[in-house]
Symmetry: C2
Subunit: 461 residues, 2 copies
């Protein structure tokens, strides 16, 4: 078996080729939420299959009711090596609003960033760049005698739409997929550009769309305006009542299962060098919004939310139209923490809306997924080894952090496969994921690849 130093040297030597391979993947517009891109999702899955096969691993793109899931298997040289499951996703968010991109979202390029080159493209950070750090680490091992661990690869294509096909897929392939002892999940971030992070708390996510309908058809607002109910007004009033003056979510019982932050966690977070003013300035704001009296870190990592992600009704083109719309709709999302029950949140939300419907207005609900929060156990042996490996690469201790985003797969691993997950990723806060001009630092990509090499070696030791 080659030394870790040899493997790291291989990574360093091949970084340009690794970057070009990532560019190939970024060129595929695998937008999962829009049916127009179904074929592109299939292309991305096939591309990953070929990459794994090129490393000598078995790999297949397996159909699901949605987009395909890529499963691959690689064997370590050592018979008694540990078995790990590596998870990533190849799907990306829609690139809109397109007019705000400086260059084409699916034409990746390098630009000079703050002290490092940056890879710019939709999916550069979320999650194709992160996914490829692991694949490129494996490639370096293969060039030096083989992997130190057995690895099962699981790449899905529906993460951005709440992973609807995954639970059934895990259940149907439980024997095959539950063999590894630990999952490695790369869909998270560094604490900052120089400090790696391991995520130990994840918020859950409930997504609900509501369509309100009033009159049987659109009406002239002059000839009918006054006695005719306007669904936009009804929807707006409901949204306006969803938060209290103090910024709390007003659904009755919403905070059932929301714990106050334990003091040991609170203390560690206080020691993090988080600059609230700089955070706000970076996104064009000056003041902490949301729940009165709670800071940014606490709100994003450990507090639940309700946000409207989209709203539409009536005429939205240029100019004006004197129309009384027959319908209005909005997409809501709830971020959950602690033991908040996603099913109950959905029920509470539906009741909240229904109680506020005037006569002659009906509500249709469309669910876009529901998953609870995750809290990982401290102090496992794997966590200790991973922290040490990251400290060796970055020269500083990894922060143990929360994450405001959901990674439904981590919940599914625990629930369906009985498997804990080590969440290590190299994304940065300013990567503009889900926004125009998404980027991934070349340092994240390069040292991320080196980090995975060290973690694999550490877990195999």
């Amino acid at each position: 078996m080659a030394t870790l130093e040899a493997i790291l040297a291989t990574i360093d030597k091949n970084i340009d080729a690794s970057t070009q391979r990532l560019f190939d993947l970024l060129r595929i517009p695998s937008v999962s939420t829009d049916p127009a891109y179904t074929k592109e999702c299939e292309r991305a899955a096939d591309w990953l299959v070929r990459e794994l096969q090129g490393l000598g691993y078995s790999a297949e793109s397996r159909p699901t009711p949605g987009h395909p899931i890529v499963v691959g298997h690689a064997n370590a040289k050592r018979k008694d090596a540990p078995h790990l499951l590596f998870y990533g996703h190849y799907d990306v968010q829609p690139p809109d609003p397109l007019e705000l991109w400086k260059t084409e979202p699916f034409a990746p390029r390098l630009q000079q960033g703050d002290g490092t080159q940056e890879i710019v493209a939709r999916g550069a950070s979320d999650d194709k760049g992160q996914l490829m750090t692991f694949v490129e680490a494996c490639r370096a091992f293969e060039a030096n005698g083989g992997l130190p661990c057995n690895v099962t690869f699981l790449f899905e294509g529906e993460e951005e739409t709440g992973s609807p096909s995954l639970p059934e897929f895990l259940a149907a392939n439980k024997a095959e997929l539950s063999e590894p002892a630990l999952a490695l999940v790369c869909d998270t971030g560094m604490w900052n550009a120089t400090t790696p992070g391991i995520t130990i708390m994840l918020r859950g996510l409930v997504q609900e769309e509501v369509i309100l309908r009033g009159a049987s058809h659109d009406l002239h607002s002059g000839m009918f305006g006054g006695p005719v109910v306007n669904p936009i007004h009804v929807l707006a009033k409901i949204i306006g009542e969803l938060h209290t003056e103090d910024g709390e979510v007003a659904l009755p019982g919403f905070y059932d299962g929301v714990p106050e932050l334990p003091e040991d966690i609170a203390a560690q977070w206080r020691e993090l060098d988080f600059d609230e003013a700089a955070f706000l300035e970076g996104i064009g704001l000056s003041q902490v919004g949301g729940e009165a009296g709670r800071g940014v870190i606490e709100q994003i990592w450990a507090r639940p939310t309700c946000d409207v992600n989209g709203i539409v009704g009536g005429y939205t083109g240029k100019g004006s139209k004197t129309v009384l719309p027959a319908q209005a709709s909005a997409k809501f999302s709830f971020r959950l923490v602690g033991t908040q029950n996603p099913t109950k949140i959905v029920e509470k939300f539906h009741a909240f809306v229904r109680e506020r419907l005037p006569v002659d207005v009906t509500a249709e609900f469309i669910s876009h997924g529901a998953s609870g929060a995750i809290n990982l156990p401290f102090g496992s042996e794997a966590l200790k080894r991973a922290r040490r490996a990251l400290a060796d690469e970055w020269g500083v201790e990894a922060a143990l952090t929360g994450c405001g985003g959901s990674i439904p797969i981590v919940g599914a691993f625990k629930r369906d496969l009985g498997m804990d997950a080590l969440m290590i990723g190299f994304g940065l806060e300013d990567d503009r994921i889900h926004s125009p001009n998404e980027k991934y630092s070349l340092t994240s990509f390069h040292k991320g690849t080196r980090s995975w090499a060290r973690v694999l070696a550490a877990l195999a030791a």
Copy 2:
């Protein structure tokens, strides 16, 4: 001079050809609010110029900063004949939502309706069909020795966007356009399918668009959700607060200048055979909304409103997107009555919005026009003669009604030209103007043409 009977017989004989000419005009998609249809608006204006010239009248399409205005002049045979100004508009509302049209909106067709044929197309009723009733009445006079009145024709192409170019045009052409003693305006409706109407009250219209902006760019609702202000929430709360629980508009001072209905008008309206339940059923509703304790007729004709005509923010495509939007916008309209001051309403509205903006949220306002309400004097000689002419055609007295829609030109005629307007039109309540599958009854078109012949003869007598 031919007898009125001969002129009416000519109209009856030529009704098919008249309908085909209207179809030609309906085929031109002259959508004024959308810059993509600018050329089509010019085409519609040119078409009208050719029609008037074909009748032997002088006519021109005159440029404005917006869409052209058609001006024509026709002389009566008699030297001392009265001079009238006939107004109509050739522009139409956008046809969307297109998927709800049974056939193409700009491919006019006849369908069998309730007891009459119906002309189906965008603009059939509002206002191309109505406009052509007058042109076809003139044509019948020309086939029988000429017009009994001098007529100035004024066809504009921006009625559906609040007639922005018209005031300046009237001012610039005041000498030419203020010569007629009375305006005839055809953009109104019948009381019902068998009872003609003359409109004596018109609501005013203020249209304001608001764009709220928060963070500098769209953000991931997981990675940022909680402490970051959401402009959709802010906009929704403002909209939710614009009405009281009793359905009144909550802008302070909004009801300044709103009179209670005079008893004589109220009595006449009570005698109208208006079926509230049937009205509501026709648009898929069961209950009178809006201001508590006020009926449909009173609310639409004599009460002011505030309606959101459109709202949009965040992701509105298929599926879900976990985005915290950087902006949200809505189009508002206010219908005004009595002496409500449009300028003050705009100021009150801006103040109402600004007072409700949290730190870090800004508002941009875009005005789409503002005009006050109109109340026409009872009992003028022209009104008496027109009522008699309509009674002769329809066999019943014309109802004197209000109208919930605005006709800014009527205010401009009064203000800029010192001219009253006789508002006579043959639209029906179920014409679905501004909605998919707009139609105009062939009876309205035919007997409307006959009605104008009778009104012209009566005013000349």
